[in-house]
């Protein structure tokens, strides 16, 4: 029983380091880059730098790095109202990009691992995206 418990724990904890996970993440990032280039780049720009005072950056953005669930919510539902990113206020509107849960997971994995951002091998899945609800 203990052995089973230990090995299960080991498998779960070690799953982040499994080559299958790395490969899945890499593939997701690649798909995510395509989504980004088509949908997100016009506002957040090629290096995730955004547009000063208009569209927030994604590169080394505290909003994304510290509260990724808020980022998923934005990508899934769009975003309105004031937010603060790296100390700067943004009051625009992000239209709902109209992506499905797979695409949202892919683009999240891409932005979390681009331009100096790293997710430390953690991966967002479509299932996780599915669970994110819009906060009123």
């Amino acid at each position: 029983m203990k052995f089973l418990l230990f090995s299960l724990t080991g498998i779960i904890l070690g799953s982040a380091a499994l080559p299958n996970q790395d490969e899945a993440l890499a593939k997701s990032i690649e798909r995510g880059k395509t989504v980004y280039t088509e949908t997100c780049i016009t506002c957040h720009m090629g290096a995730g730098e955004g547009v000063p005072a208009t569209f927030p950056p994604l590169a080394k953005a505290d909003y994304l790095v510290k509260t990724p669930e808020k980022a998923i919510e934005a990508v899934k539902f769009g975003l309105q109202g004031k937010i603060v990113v790296n100390g700067v206020s943004y009051e625009g509107m992000m239209p709902n990009p109209g992506l499905d849960n797979e695409e949202i997971a892919d683009v999240m994995n891409y932005i979390q691992n681009a331009w100096g951002n790293t997710s430390n091998k953690k991966m967002i899945t479509a299932k996780m995206v599915e669970e994110v609800k819009q906060k009123k």
């Binding site: 016009t42 625009g92 992506l99």
Partner: protein, 393 residues
């Protein structure tokens, strides 16, 4: 000493008169005397009131004015709505085809036939998913145009007039603006669907403005009807993604604006058969800062009337012809998605003399129209509202 007194007596009346005259002139200037009576009063935001005439809309894209005073509104999510007396009718209008609501696609423009009162035709543009038998990518889509009549809350007599070919599997650049001229033709702007190289390709409805008869038939005198391999509906080419198009009230010439890449949004005069240059010439660069073209001009390609750098993401445009806005007659109002304001462009002939930003923070502007009441109506994507801008009495 004795000489000063008489001097003072003489000069005082003169001095006083001088003072009086100066004072009168000064007063005249500040109250706008003769000088300002001859030149138009410059309108500023202070001259206007903004009222909300519709709210609760979801991603509204365009509005049309029905003769009974109702607003007909497209919601990009795929719904057609009525606004009656300032209240959004909860019952949607039925009969729309399947619309591809994804990326920048969805239900787009709505425009009434110029003789709507007698024929009842409503024209609607939308992102149409690839149908069986159509050319192009599986899972792709492109812009289409239909017309229909409205009976209560239903579209009837639906006619599918046009579909841009080929279908493309990309979520960007659908264009979609509908304009009628005074000669019985209808024009539709088409984005290049993210494939810039196809804007110059006359065998594809990408990055084009097309001209059709009002029943969708191809005019026999379109510029490329005799060009081998060219699609006969094409009127002009070399566009990127035009989301503003309108007709000059007196010249009857069609003007459009289109999104540039990073910088290089353009305002163009649309003329038969001309090439507007995308991507061979552009005032912008790509979003990753790479160069799209080092050229901004080329023989055989048209220059814009004006361009915006940085981009303002223009959407919606109208000429002002209203009796209530005489100072702006003949000028253009352009909406900005990116900066959430309106721009007033002073137009003289084929030139833009000046541009000014007005109504900052009004919202993400999707449509700008002059209503039958002569006021300006603005459709706002972020707040789901339509507002009316009217001059104060």
């Amino acid at each position: 000493m004795t000489n000063n007194k008489p001097f003072l007596k003489k000069s005082l009346p003169i001095a006083l008169t001088g003072l009086l005259l100066t004072a009168s002139v000064a007063l005249m200037s500040t109250s706008g005397g003769t000088e300002e009576a001859n030149s138009p009063k410059k309108l500023t935001e202070a001259n206007f009131t903004i009222d909300t005439v519709a709210k609760g809309l979801t991603m509204p894209w365009a509005t049309a004015f029905l003769p009974n005073g109702d607003l007909l509104v497209t919601e990009r999510v795929g719904k057609l709505r009525l606004v009656k007396n300032g209240v959004l009718d909860p019952k949607e209008i039925s009969g729309l085809p399947e619309v591809m609501y994804k990326g920048q696609g969805g239900l787009l423009d709505v425009a009434l036939h110029p003789d709507y009162n007698s024929n009842g035709w409503i024209y609607i543009s939308y992102s149409s998913p690839k149908a069986a038998g159509e050319e192009g990518d599986d899972g792709g889509a492109n812009t289409a145009l239909l017309r229909a009549k409205l009976k209560d809350h239903a579209l009837t007599d639906i006619q599918y007039l046009f579909k841009a070919i080929p279908n493309v599997k990309a979520n960007v650049h659908f264009g979609g603006r509908i304009v009628f001229d005074k000669k019985g033709y209808v024009f539709l702007s088409l984005g290049e669907r993210g494939q810039k190289e196809n804007s110059q390709n006359l065998s594809r409805d990408q990055g084009k403005v097309v001209r059709l008869h009002e029943d969708g038939k191809i005019p026999s005198d379109n510029p490329f009807v005799k060009t081998a391999g060219a699609r006969p509906e094409i009127w002009t080419y070399g566009h990127r993604n035009p989301q503003g198009m309108t007709i000059h009230p007196t010249t009857g010439v069609i003007w459009e604006h289109e999104h540039g890449p990073q910088g290089g949004d353009e305002l163009n005069i649309v003329e038969k058969g001309k090439n507007y240059g995308w991507p061979v010439i552009t005032f912008g660069i790509d979003y990753d800062n790479s160069i799209i073209s080092k050229d901004t001009a080329k023989v055989g390609m048209e220059q814009p009337v004006t361009y915006w750098k940085p981009s303002i993401a223009p959407c919606g445009m109208t000429f002002v012809t209203s009796n209530k806005l005489k100072e702006w007659n003949g000028d253009l109002l352009v909406g900005s998605l990116k900066f959430a304001y309106l721009q007033h462009l002073v137009v003289k002939g084929n030139k833009v003399i000046s541009r000014e930003i007005l109504f900052e923070k009004i919202g993400r502007v999707r449509d700008v129209r002059q209503g039958p009441d002569g006021n300006i109506y603005v459709v706002l994507e972020n707040s789901g509202k339509i507002v009316r801008i009217s001059p104060k009495a």
